[in-house]
Assembly symmetry: C2
Homo-oligomer: 457 residues x 2
């Protein structure tokens, strides 16, 4: 059995390794258009901020190590330009040689991932304008910072990557400004709706967050970025721009192969990560996957889901028809965390706006509690928002924000969001850990849940 | 309706306040033999260690505040010496006046709590030998430390209170030694079976843990403690002794009243916290309550359970027959946490030894992972033990130990232990938060659960 894996950043290598575990005799070949595979992309801001050990490369596995330790054949700098499921063939271009060939496989796993969204404004190709997606970006940013007289970095987009990059730039002693139409950070992926603790920390760190959009990027005569123009007509001088306005799935190959796409533009798959073509499975940032609590299939381009979808896709692609049905993807909780400027955020499930969009009769309960009893000098506020369904009290989501003990507390909500737990379960039946240096006498989540019993009752 | 609450340390005041909320017209009278009510006993070691704000008293509510804000009549320094459920009367001794009277009530809530166990060795009454249970103890310890030339403190018992007191004494610049027959700390209540991280931290803090028992306490001619003799014949010189060898329920009143006791010596109650007498409910450290995952009724003398049992007892005692059945105590998860000497422990559910004692075909899976990816200089080991049932993979308990991100992670196990979740759920279907400063790419709990799928499969 020959299995082709298309894409090598995160989901691809995970799928390749899992396929070899399931079917050691299969020939597994991985194609990646870039020079690296298996990259720890989540750590890029920490590498650029100088927070990691100096020898860190973010390459979890080199192509050589992947071949040697996992038995997977790896072709980097090879772009798959066409996939023909009916003829079970793909066309691949060897970028370093300019040659193109056709290869036959029995099965395919599509892991083409997502690309950073562009602004679509004039001047975006100026030197010194970067997205943050892979090691090629990372090395280019590093080189720019090392060789150019950078003093001020404009970050377009206040999502979690924008926030992490702002912290990285401040750690290097640079000025940083964030442009975000919301006028605040963490508006969407990591819901931070009901707390201003992170915004205050960003402001205290000297990073202005401007409620403006970039409308043009201006360059010096030699092509180097010199300023960003905004929709308020402001001209913000800078020597570097980071564009972090989200990602979009790379579906060109899938679309040309005739695979069905979902309503959000990702590749449509069933619970076995099987696409609409008999011999093709897909995984990672390119697929739409069902979320708890409503089963809606959405794009959720995070490392945790890359690994999980890869595992399911590989087991089914590498398995026989009889073993396949055992490996199904079940709706995910949507757990996300961020820590920056000393404040951490944990978010699980639906924000209020997403819950309302999904048609739930949802109610938000907001509570400000503390990270320890107030008798401790270290006691810091924790803001909790619980989102629950009116009447049933079912927990749809929740967010915690604070300086200590906030993010990981949110993980308790994962089994509840997935399993249909209620605010009553959390308020009355769950004993969470209490010890004075670890938290207040009644856990912030339980305080919020008790309040939510009244709000949602 | 007249309701008497007997005992005022933690469960009693919580029950009194909840009863007044449920039945505002009821007359609620609380009797406490000591001078204080509503004490934050868990924070005593932090007060003694100088870790709290200087004005801290640990009195959550004074008797006056309880009367004024909750509408509860409070009698401190009043000892209930007899309870006659048939005649609906109790006998109470006013300690400051030496007078005794009988009072009639419709219903009773017994919250007599637990007392610190004594060693039962010669010399235990020497001046400078203390238990750590209430504010009277606390003030006595404080006075001893302030007035005596204390250099070395011997702590008998290496449970979580002994450990916290050792840290408190070190924070004051005193020498401290722990005697524990296990030769290590955290042997029982907080299960720390599979990790030596806490033991190493204790050793590095200069606190020897001696695998010895105290057999005699020796005093100076003036009655002040001068040494502890051990079962190895050693004589350990000291100027203060802390005895922290657990607690036992105060059941004298219940037993004399003819209430049924459980097999562990606590008061037997049903899921409504109703005792064997029609007009008597009970709550707090004195009752046996059902634990998850096996429903066995055990003593679990922790603040979290004091509040929860108090709420159930008060709602049922204060409610009418028709509303009562709604408020039932459901099996608890047994979540416990400790942080000392920079290491934290979180434990939920059954340890391996308790699971085996309970008759489960239990298997323990031990994994050493990290608190963040190794690229971070802050990365520190986290030891995880998952206890699961062979075959079914049902999670029976788990413990995490580490310098950061360990204790609160264990809370994720609470819904699983209570709800019958499996290692497969945790390994494959739960997406836990991943962000580089908050944890490694695969959460330590998930790594352990994946390993447990192989161990328990």
């Amino acid at each position: 059995m020959r299995l082709a894996i298309i894409g090598g950043l995160a989901a691809g290598p995970a799928a390749a390794a899992e396929a070899k575990r399931r079917a050691p005799d299969a020939e597994v070949v991985l194609f990646e258009q870039g020079p690296h595979i298996s990259v720890g992309t989540c750590e890029i801001p920490y590498l650029l901020g100088g927070h990691l050990e100096p020898e860190t490369t973010l390459q979890v596995l080199t192509p050589e190590a992947m071949e040697r330790t996992r038995g997977v054949t790896v072709h980097v700098r090879h772009r798959v330009t066409a996939l023909d499921p009916r003829r079970s063939r793909l066309t691949v271009e060897a970028l370093d040689y300019g040659s193109t060939r056709e290869e036959a496989f029995d099965r395919f796993i599509l892991a083409t991932g997502a690309r950073a969204r562009r602004l679509g404004v004039e001047g975006e190709d100026a030197a010194g304008v970067f997205t943050v997606r892979d090691l090629v970006d990372t090395h280019a940013i590093q080189r720019w910072l090392d060789t150019q007289p950078v003093r001020h970095v404009v970050i377009v987009g206040g999502g979690y990557i924008g926030l992490e990059m702002a912290e990285a730039m401040r750690s290097r002693g640079l000025r940083a400004s964030i442009l975000d139409p919301n006028g605040r950070v963490l508006g969407s992926t990591v819901a931070c709706e009901a707390s201003d603790l992170m915004d205050r920390a960003v402001a205290e760190a000297g990073v202005p967050v401007r409620a403006e959009r970039a409308t043009e990027i201006l360059a010096e005569d030699d092509g180097r970025v010199r300023a960003v123009r905004t929709d308020r007509g402001e001209l913000i001088g800078c020597q570097m721009v980071i564009v972090s306005v989200g990602v979009e799935p790379r579906t060109e190959l899938a679309a040309a192969a005739g695979l069905r796409l979902g309503d959000m533009g990702g590749v449509a798959v069933d619970d076995q990560m099987h696409t609409s073509a008999r011999s093709v499975w897909a995984c990672g940032d390119v697929v739409q996957i069902p979320r708890a609590p409503d089963g809606r299939r959405v794009l959720w381009p995070l490392a945790t889901m890359a690994r999980r979808t890869a595992r399911v896709a590989a087991r089914n692609a590498a398995g026989s028809a009889s073993t396949r049905s055992a490996d199904r993807f079940r709706p995910f909780a949507g757990a996300v965390g961020v820590r920056a400027f000393g404040v951490e955020v944990g978010s699980v499930g639906l924000s209020l706006s997403r819950a309302l969009d999904a048609g739930f009769d949802a109610v938000a309960t907001d509570v400000r509690h503390v990270s320890r009893t107030r008798a401790f000098p270290e006691a810091a506020p924790i803001d909790v928002r619980l989102v629950s369904e009116r009447g049933s009290g079912r927990i749809l989501g929740g967010q915690l924000v604070g300086r200590e003990g906030a993010a990981l507390r949110a993980n308790v909500l994962v089994p509840l969001v997935i399993g249909g737990g209620t605010v009553r379960d959390l308020a009355e039946d769950f004993d969470l850990i209490y010890n004075p240096p670890l938290g207040p006498a009644v856990d912030p989540l339980k305080v919020a849940a008790s309040q939510a019993m009244r709000d949602a009752g």
